[in-house]
């Protein structure tokens, strides 16, 4: 009896928590399907009986969301691919290749983890200006083409490989590149994927740097596009909600598709399993 009550109570609490956590997104969906008049109507409409889909189209036409999404895709995919390549290469060298100052250089990589982006903002803005990169994709991509987190996480994973593997591969005549591509990368696919998802999420959500490094719609990302979207007048309030949903959609899809990798990426190192 008490046990039964406990379960009912738990469901009740789970439901209350679900409403509190889920409501902002739920009402965003609802409002994106209403007209501005319906949104302003009191008492408020909490369920769209006659959904209107026009706001999504308007988000593309009046708020240029398509352009922002495309720019975000270009920037995010470039950063993710570059971070994966540079991190895999460096982590490999720090694990399987002997060279002078290896240890020092590894600590240099780690030291970058202690430097927040805010501490380098001002000179970096000057640097991209000097390179002639203001308002270009390289300004948004190049500063993030390497990641101390990536080098560290991947090196930790590569160290777990049995060391005979390298010796055997060397005896078989494998060079470093072949050993990396045919053995190390395939065996570490899960952690590489986890870092990839993490890198994608971080790059997609960037806000401060894109705001400072650009002021033209032609390269601005969707996070900055949201800033423009927010300033739409209240007779386009449904477009604000629809645009916000569209901006979040790619990450929602990513979350559903790569839930396991995302969890692993986010919790890497935090929990001793």
């Amino acid at each position: 009896m008490g046990r039964h009550w406990g379960r009912t109570g738990r469901y009740a609490l789970l439901a209350v928590a679900a409403v509190v956590v889920g409501f902002p997104i739920y009402i965003t969906v609802v409002n994106s399907l209403l007209t501005p008049q319906q949104i302003a109507h009191r008492p408020p409409t909490l369920f769209p009986l006659h959904p209107q889909w026009g706001a999504f189209g308007q988000a593309f036409t009046t708020a240029h969301l398509g352009l922002y999404l495309r720019n975000s895709a270009v920037v995010t995919v470039s950063i993710t691919v570059a971070e994966l390549v540079t991190s895999v290469l460096a982590a490999y060298a720090f694990t399987f290749v002997q060279f002078p100052f290896r240890r020092v250089l590894f600590f240099v990589c780690l030291a970058t983890l202690m430097v927040p982006m805010e501490a380098t903002l001002i000179p970096n803005r000057q640097t991209i200006g000097a390179f002639g990169w203001y308002n270009t994709f390289p300004a948004l991509i190049v500063p993030f083409m390497a990641s101390g987190v990536g080098v560290f996480l991947l090196r930790q994973a590569f160290l777990q490989l049995p060391h005979d593997l390298h010796d055997a591969a060397t005896l078989d005549g494998y060079g470093h590149l072949r050993f990396l591509m045919r053995v190390v990368v395939p065996l570490n696919r899960p952690i590489i994927a986890a870092f990839g998802v993490y890198a994608f999420l971080t790059a997609w959500n960037q806000y401060l740097w894109p705001l400072i490094a650009t002021d033209s719609d032609s390269v601005r990302t969707v996070q900055i596009g949201l800033r423009q979207l927010q300033s739409l007048s209240i007779d386009q309030i449904n477009v604000i909600f629809a645009g916000t949903l569209l901006a979040a959609l790619p990450i929602f899809v990513l979350l559903l598709a790569f839930q396991k990798q995302l969890v692993r990426g986010l919790t890497a190192g935090a929990v001793k399993g």
Binding site: A17, Q98, I122, P143, F152, G265, A270
Partner: protein, 321 residues
């Protein structure tokens, strides 16, 4: 640029402190003839990452310190003047700096503890093998799919003073709006931040809960410990490293919280949400690079101190824990 302050970054530093950075055992150079070529390969492989770090992390970090020595003239045509440490002194002793630092600390206190408590509560609630639990878990994790900007725009619109649903429910529709209130603007920004972060904290705490050995809780049950006492005496102590970790990551993230301020209040009303990072941003926007650099150095040193606390803690946890 690096992404310090994000979870794996801090975790990584902790792992280094824990001595996890040793070489793989037995991986010694075999044939000396290869060593020259090996060195070339090694440098070639680390070069891309090192080049990015040199140009976009270390050089600008040093230059930020350096720019703090120059006072920017009020007119763009006049060159900046070298003033030595005097600008550091004047900015770091100014009322504006301490006021913004105070608001930042207030913001940390409004976001971090409550975020962790809610995260632990949600994770414990969802830590049961009952029907439909996957639905709840996915829903609680879902806010990781929102960015700071997405969360801010949603809440900004729902808090709109004339048509915002939350304004209506709070009974303040037609008034000035909560984001224009000296008293409530910062708590409102903090609420948005807590909501946006809840998915991450939930994922973190759930993973930690699942790592607790089942037999420990079972042993406590056999010893007659009730659900409540099992939570306080067994679960929570075992969760404490993760709680500590979430605290450090949360403090760092709150010091870096920029998007929500920019989108919700722009530092207003009357500077009531003008936290350190936003103060830095406005100095920069006003072309006062000298002052902005001093503020950036201050922010860097504060975050460095927080990170080093984590560093020491992990060391202790490993040796005595």
């Amino acid at each position: 640029m690096s992404d310090a302050g994000l979870a794996p970054g801090v975790a990584a530093l902790g792992e280094v402190a824990a001595g996890a950075s040793g070489d793989a055992p037995g991986r010694r150079r075999r044939r000396l003839g290869r060593s020259g070529r090996d060195a070339a390969v090694g440098y070639l492989f680390v070069l891309p990452a090192m080049a990015v770090f040199a140009v976009f992390v270390f050089y600008p970090l040093l230059r930020t310190f350096w720019l703090g020595f120059f006072r920017v003239a009020p007119y763009p045509t006049i060159p900046s003047k070298f003033v030595g440490l005097s600008q550091y002194r004047s900015v770091l002793t100014s009322h504006d700096f301490w006021a913004s630092l105070g608001r930042t600390v207030e913001f940390v206190l409004l976001t971090v503890p409550i975020g962790i408590v809610l995260g632990v509560a949600l994770a414990s609630l969802a830590d049961a093998r009952i029907r439909g639990i996957r639905f709840f878990r996915t829903l609680y994790s879902s806010t990781v799919a929102t960015s700071v900007a997405v969360a801010s725009v949603i809440f900004f619109t729902l808090l709109n003073p004339t048509v915002g649903l939350f304004s209506y429910w709070l009974g303040i529709e037609g008034g000035n709006g909560i984001l224009q209130s000296n008293t409530w603007a910062l708590p409102a920004v903090a609420t948005v931040t807590v909501w946006q972060n809840i998915g991450f904290t939930f994922i973190l705490m759930s993973a930690a809960l699942q790592a607790i050995p089942e037999d420990l809780l079972e042993a406590a049950r056999i010893d007659g410990a009730g659900g409540r006492s099992r939570f306080w005496r067994v679960t929570l102590p075992l969760l404490s490293p993760t709680v500590f970790f979430a605290g450090v990551v949360g403090i760092i993230a709150s010091f870096q919280a920029f998007g929500q301020i920019d989108l919700l209040t722009q530092g207003g009303p009357d500077n009531h949400t003008n936290v350190l990072i936003y103060y830095l941003y406005t100095s920069f926007q006003n072309n006062d690079f000298g002052q902005a650099s001093v503020l950036a150095v201050a922010l860097f040193l504060i975050l460095l101190a927080v990170t080093l606390v984590q560093f020491r803690f992990v060391e202790r946890r490993v040796f005595y824990g």
